[in-house]
Amino acid sequence: MRLSNTTQLIARKPAPLNQFTRFFRSLNIDWPLFVGLLLILALGLVVLYSAVGENLRLWLSQIGRLGVALMAMLFFAHLSPELMRRWTPWGFLLGCILLVLVLTTGEVIQGARRWLDLGVRFQPSEIMKLAVPMMAAWYLHDRQIPPRIGQFLLLCLIIIVPTVLIAQQPDLGTALLIAASGFIVIVLAGLPIRFLIVLGILAVPGSLLLWKFMQDYQKQRVLTLLNPDSDPLGAGYNIIQSKIAIGSGGTFGKGWTNGSQSHLEFLPERDTDFIFAVMGEELGLLGALALLGLYVFVIGRGLYIAIQAHDTYSRLLAGSISLTFFVYVFVNTAMVTGIVPVVGIPLPLVSFGGTSMVTLMAGFGILMSIHSNRKLLPH
């Protein structure tokens, strides 16, 4: 009896909610983050319509993918961080097994083994984009922060195994993103600054070693960055044309669907990896800055959620998801503007294609879940 009285008391306390509000609240959506994402997606769709050559069929198919990605976000927003944490090691293990399966039995498409067909076709490397930072955060959750050296080394192993497996496919872009997401967890967990400096120094011989292991086409991309004119029909062509597209956009752009570079097919991969160039050409510096501003807002909100989180796992995971998203944005925009070599990383939430979009939105779902569950966890 007493118990039921108490529940009645508590239940009566909040102001009566109408059904709509209650429904939305039950979605666990973080509104600032969600609005930021919707603005990016909307701007992205506008640019994409122009980039696919005003082909309505392709454009609608992208909206379909977007729907799937939003469902993934809602789904993950509903899993409690506690539950995710308990399942993390199994997810990581499964991901590793699938990666080995891909290397042994995956379909070869354009010289790379990335896809696995287990009833549905998917890239197991996508699972790892979330599973690696989760695993690193899981490992640190119960341990003292900052961790000891031995623990850092174990963390490195957690990151290196999937990274190497994915680099073998070969999929350098994804390997890079996954390594970054794990490394970010390590830094956020308090890797001593002096180690960061040592790592910076080791990067020089490390990159020489990496050069030895790179495929010919990857070396070509690096060389092309240094001298794009050496191969105007091949790898250098992308960079030359994308720079012309962006530069000729000027401050205000040539106007939506008026980009001559993209519409006269000068710009290759204009709807996927190079869509930022279409944006720069048609919407100009202001359009590009607006998109970057939206990205900064979303990342900032993600970091705010990370700081507000109440346990180590949630905090590290939220921080890693937000900062990895930044790595996406930086590597893509830097490659399209010719600052870094061409790596196959799409412009997040804007480029055509659904695979990475679903993972990204799932990641934001996790952020939302962390934020709405923060008070339920012990302080």
Binding site: D229, I246, L285
Partner: protein, 631 residues
């Protein structure tokens, strides 16, 4: 679990975390700053330059496809060349009413009515400024016709291009192969930068297998376009901005085949009306002198592009003209393998040259009642090995079959290259099948089916039962008999020529493992018997050799069509004709100095000696220079 582990200091941990987030935010801001600085540099500081370049980006770098290498026969006669042709194109964004334009073009006979829905779909789905091909090959009359009407068709124009042409297409289609439009699967397989301007690629035969030699490397040039992307003129040389100068494409290599066009024409003519295949080899090099699969087709249809109806007509044809019977057709070899089995029997001691067998027209295994029949119902009478080959006595081979045994049969047939891929340089071949106990265990799942029966050895001795061989394999076996055991890998490409320097790289003959026969005398006995098949008193194919002024050796075969292949569909009224026996023949000549080995298979030809042997004779006559003698 210990969520509140005593050693965890949550407050200092959170402070550390916030410090790290701040650190990384600063780092990120710096990186983002470089991107923004770069944007400002490109879009504000260097804007004028890039705006000019994008304006000048009416100057487009356009790939120039290389000219595909030519294909010649062994005497330098052209088998595949490139001819100029004009195609009709439409640029969707310049045409106001596509429907109306297409129907008016169709009335002038410039567009096929059947193609209109496909063209409409293409012009809707692709970029609006990209030309859609309406007609791949305009005749001169059509060009003239269109030239007059041109002002009525804005956005429609003709463009020159090179079309692959096969002057003797029908006779060489299966060896040379053909080119066709690049498909999605081709694009995945090929190096995209090399195929930037290429529309077609080799699909079968030499065109496919030697694609990397034939294709060449593309060049590029600068093309000035107007604001709508339409070409205005071709610029020569480099421009003042940092774009590099043009590069001329380097043409593909010319390929010389070992094929002899004369033999191809003779074989094609001889096979007219039949289904089957003819293969001729140089036994001392493995060079393929003739490779014909009948019926054939016109490869020019693929190169020019054909209508869907034409293509499905070819594909659904009951006679399967697109199927390369010479390398992929697997047939029961019938009695053509008797010379090989005779060698096996002599080597293993299963028989000797003087052993006599009485042929009464049938054979029964001990303690059974099943009669294995000879092709000659009344029997051949008393036979020795020589007679058994000459007259193709089945009973003699039935009798010795169990003494040889299926595994030793397999051992010798395998040495002659039967039941395994020949690794011919055009690929796309069937391995055939030489059964053995091991094979049967692997091929069947039910233990009851895995057992080898003695009766199966009996019918294997006359090349029936499970046994299958391709015409190319049989020609290889004939060549190995001719050389007394020296074998070479069959190949079609004799030389590859650099089109610029004229330098030729010859394909060297690749010697394979010899057939292991210890007693050389046995070769002579078997070859002698094969000689008498054609030029002996009672030889089964003596009619085919009549009047020859050189010594030849051969062996006929007539194989029962005991089951229908799964891939084939039969019309009821044709079944009877298609259940007739296959006619086979292998031969080589001259006996003392063999220069050519031949195999002929005529599907449902009924008799190897009557139908297949004369075709082999005609080819050997031509190759050896006795073609005036033909009776």
């Amino acid at each position: 679990m210990d969520l509140l582990s005593p050693i965890k200091d949550h407050h200092s941990e959170r402070r550390l975390f916030i410090a790290r987030v701040a650190l990384m935010s600063v780092g990120s801001a710096l990186l983002l700053g470089t991107v923004i600085a770069r944007l400002v540099q490109l879009q504000v500081i260097d804007y004028e330059d890039f705006a000019a370049r994008s304006q000048g980006n009416r100057v487009r770098i356009e790939p120039v496809p290389p000219i595909r290498g030519l294909i010649f026969d062994r005497k330098g006669r052209v088998l595949a060349e490139n001819l100029p042709a004009y195609q009709l194109e439409l640029i969707p964004e310049q045409v106001e009413d596509i429907e109306d334009t297409l129907s008016r073009l169709a009335m002038l006979g410039l567009v096929e009515v059947d193609d209109i829905p496909r063209i409409k779909e293409l012009s809707r789905s692709g970029p609006r400024f990209k030309p859609v091909t309406l007609n791949l090959r305009l005749s001169e009359k059509q060009i003239a016709n269109f030239a007059i009407q041109r002002p009525r068709f804005p956005g429609v124009d003709f463009q020159p291009r090179l079309v692959r042409h096969y002057p003797h297409g029908y006779a060489v289609a299966h060896a040379v192969g053909y080119v066709g439009a690049l498909s999605g699967r081709d694009v995945e397989r090929l190096e995209t930068s090399r195929y930037a301007g290429t529309a077609q690629t080799g699909k079968t035969g030499v065109e496919f297998s030697f694609e990397s030699n034939l294709h060449g490397d593309p060049g590029y040039r600068h093309v000035v376009n107007n604001a709508l992307g339409r070409r205005v003129s071709v610029e020569s040389g480099g421009r003042s901005d940092s774009l590099p100068s043009d590069r001329t494409p380097s043409p593909g290599a010319n390929v010389y085949l070992s094929l002899d066009l004369d033999l191809q024409l003779i074989a094609t003519e001889a096979m007219r009306g039949w289904r089957g295949a003819v293969v001729a080899l140089d036994p001392w090099t493995g060079e393929i002198l003739a490779l014909v699969s009948a019926p054939s087709f016109d490869p020019n249809l693929f190169a020019v592009g054909m209508s869907t109806a034409q293509f499905s007509g070819l594909q659904d044809d009951l006679d399967r003209p697109l199927f390369n019977r010479a390398t992929r057709g697997a047939y029961p070899p019938g009695s053509t393998i008797k010379p090989v089995l005779a060698l096996a029997a002599l080597e293993t001691g299963a028989t000797n040259l003087t052993r006599k067998t009485l042929c009464r027209g049938y054979f029964m295994l001990p303690n059974t009642t099943h009669r294995y029949r000879d092709w000659k119902p009344e029997g051949h009478g008393e036979m020795m090995l020589h007679d058994a080959i000459e007259q193709s006595c089945d009973v003699y081979f039935y009798e010795i079959s169990s003494d040889i045994g299926i595994d030793r049969m397999h051992f010798y047939l395998d040495q002659f290259g039967l039941g395994r891929l020949t690794e011919v340089d055009i690929g796309d071949e069937s391995a055939g099948l030489v059964p053995s106990r091991d094979w049967k265990k692997r091929a069947f799942r039910e233990p009851a089916d895995q057992r080898w029966f003695q009766g199966e050895t009996v019918i294997a001795s006359i090349g029936q039962g499970y046994m299958l061989a391709t015409p190319l394999q049989l020609a290889g076996a004939a060549a190995a008999l001719a050389t007394r055991g020296t074998r070479f890998r069959p190949h079609l490409v004799a030389a590859i020529e650099d089109p610029l320097s004229g330098e030729r790289t010859l394909t060297s003959a690749e010697r394979l493992a010899d057939v292991d026969v210890k007693n050389d005398h046995y070769w002579s006995s078997v070859i002698d018997a094969m000689h008498d098949v054609m030029q002996g008193q009672r030889g089964t194919a003596r009619a085919a050799a009549r009047g020859a002024r050189y010594e030849m050796a051969g062996k006929s075969g007539t194989a029962q069509v005991f089951s229908l292949s799964q891939e084939e569909e039969y019309k009821e009224e044709e079944v009877a004709e298609r259940l007739r026996d296959h006619a086979l023949f292998i031969a080589f000549a001259p006996v003392d100095d063999p220069r050519i080995a031949v195999s002929v298979i005529v599907e449902n030809g009924s008799s190897g000696s009557r139908v297949a042997a004369p075709i082999a004779r005609a080819i050997m006559d031509k190759y050896l220079g006795y073609d005036g003698d033909a009776t």
